[in-house]
C-alpha cells in the first residue's frame, strides 16, 4: 500500500513518470514514423537508430511505474477489459518499433517501391498502436467497474 501511500507524494510521482515515459516512447516512435511517411525526408534513416535507447529507457520507466500502479490497485485494472486492449496495443507497438528498425532503418533497398510501401504501412500501424494505447490508457480512469474488491467505480 506504499503506492497509494502518503498520497500527495508517491502516487503523483508514479503517474507523472508514467506519463513522461509515454510521451518519450510514443513520441519518439511517432517522430520516426513521420520520417518514414515522408516528413523530414532528408533525415538519414539509419541514424535514427541512435534514438532507440530513449525509447527503451521510457519503456523501462513505464514498465516499472505501470507495475507499481497495478500493485496499488490490482482489481481496478484486471477487471477492466480496456486494460487488456491497452496492453495489446503496447505489445504490438513495441514489436513494430523492433520490426521498423530491422526492416526499414537498416533496409538497404528502400528505393524499391514495394519495400517502401511496406515501410509506410508499418509506420501507420505504429502510429495507430500508440494512439490506441494512449486512448485505452486514458479511458482506464473512466471505465473501471471495480476500484477494489467490493468497491464499485466508474461513471
Amino acid at each position: 500500500m506504499w503506492v497509494r501511500g502518503p498520497s500527495l507524494l508517491v502516487f503523483p510521482l508514479i503517474v507523472s513518470a508514467h506519463t513522461l515515459g509515454m510521451g518519450f516512447l510514443a513520441g519518439t516512435s511517432a517522430g520516426i514514423d513521420f520520417r518514414i511517411l515522408g516528413v523530414a525526408k532528408r533525415v538519414p534513416l539509419t541514424a535514427l537508430e541512435k534514438f532507440y535507447p530513449i525509447m527503451w529507457a521510457a519503456l523501462v520507466v513505464n514498465f516499472i511505474s505501470g507495475t507499481l500502479l497495478l500493485i496499488g490497485y490490482p482489481w481496478k485494472a484486471v477487471t477492466n477489459p480496456v486494460f487488456y486492449v491497452k496492453l495489446s496495443c503496447i505489445a504490438l507497438g513495441v514489436f513494430l518499433v523492433v520490426k521498423i528498425r530491422r526492416q526499414v532503418l537498416n533496409q538497404p533497398n528502400l528505393d524499391d517501391d514495394k519495400i517502401r510501401h511496406r515501410a509506410k504501412l508499418l509506420a501507420w500501424a505504429s502510429l495507430g498502436c500508440w494512439a490506441g494505447a494512449i486512448l485505452a490508457g486514458r479511458l482506464l480512469a473512466y471505465t473501471y467497474t471495480w476500484l477494489e474488491v467490493g468497491v464499485r467505480g466508474g461513471f
Binding site: 498520497s7 500527495l8 502516487f11 503523483p12 503517474v15 507523472s16 506519463t19 513522461l20 509515454m22 510521451g23 518519450f24 510514443a26 513520441g27 519518439t28 516512435s29 511517432a30 517522430g31 513521420f34 520520417r35 516528413v39 523530414a40 525526408k41 532528408r42 533525415v43 538519414p44 539509419t46 541514424a47 535514427l48 541512435k50 534514438f51 530513449i54 500508440w130 494512439a131 494512449i134 486512448l135 490508457g137 486514458r138 479511458l139 480512469a141 473512466y142 461513471f155
Partner: protein, 173 residues
C-alpha cells in the same frame, strides 16, 4: 492566491458565461476523456519531435544534420496547438479547478520559460548556426544550453500538468 473565495470572483463568472463553458457543461460525460486523450496525443507529438531535435543538438544521433530533423518541428507545433485548444477548453469547463491550483501556475511558469527559450533560439543566430551544421558536427555551446532548457522546461510542463489533479481545490463546496 491559491485560496478559493467563498463566492466566485468576477473573472470566474465571466469564464462561466462563455460559449466554451456552456459547451463543456452541455456535453455528456465522454467529452472530458476524449479531450484528455487528445491532450496526451498532443503532448506525445510535442515531446517526441522537439525532444528528438533537442537531443540531436545535445549530441545524440550526430550523423543526422539538425537542419533535416528540424522539419519534424511542425508536427510538434501541431501537437502544441491541439493542447492549447484542449487546455483552454479544460479551463473554461472548470475554471476554479485550475486557477486555485498551485500546479497550474507552475505549469504556466514552465510554459513561459519554454516560450521565451523558443524566442531566444529563433531570434538569435543560434537557429542559423544549428541549421548550418553538417552531419557529424557538434553544436555550439549556446545552442546546447537552449536545447537543454527546452527539454527540461517541457518535461516540467508535463509533470506539473499531470500533478494538477492532486492539487486542485475540492469540487462543489
Amino acid at each position: 492566491m491559491f485560496e478559493e473565495p467563498d463566492l466566485p470572483a468576477a473573472w470566474e463568472l465571466f469564464v462561466r458565461s462563455t460559449f466554451l463553458h456552456q459547451f463543456v457543461a452541455d456535453q455528456g460525460q465522454w467529452l472530458w476523456p476524449v479531450l484528455e486523450t487528445l491532450h496526451y496525443l498532443g503532448l506525445s507529438l510535442l515531446l517526441g519531435t522537439i525532444g528528438m531535435f533537442d537531443l540531436r543538438v545535445l549530441g545524440m544521433g550526430k550523423a543526422i544534420p539538425p537542419g533535416t530533423l528540424h522539419k519534424l518541428i511542425p508536427i510538434g507545433i501541431a501537437g502544441f496547438a491541439v493542447n492549447a485548444l484542449t487546455g483552454v477548453t479544460f479551463f473554461s469547463g472548470f475554471p476554479e479547478q485550475y486557477f486555485y491550483n498551485p500546479s497550474f501556475w507552475w505549469k504556466g511558469t514552465f510554459m513561459a520559460i519554454a516560450g521565451m527559450n523558443v524566442a531566444v533560439f529563433y531570434l538569435s543566430s543560434a537557429f542559423r548556426e544549428v541549421q548550418a551544421m553538417p552531419a557529424g558536427s557538434d553544436a555550439p555551446f549556446r545552442a546546447k544550453v537552449i536545447a537543454a532548457t527546452s527539454l527540461g522546461a517541457w518535461i516540467a510542463v508535463l509533470i506539473c500538468g499531470r500533478l494538477l489533479t492532486f492539487y486542485r481545490p475540492p469540487f462543489f463546496h
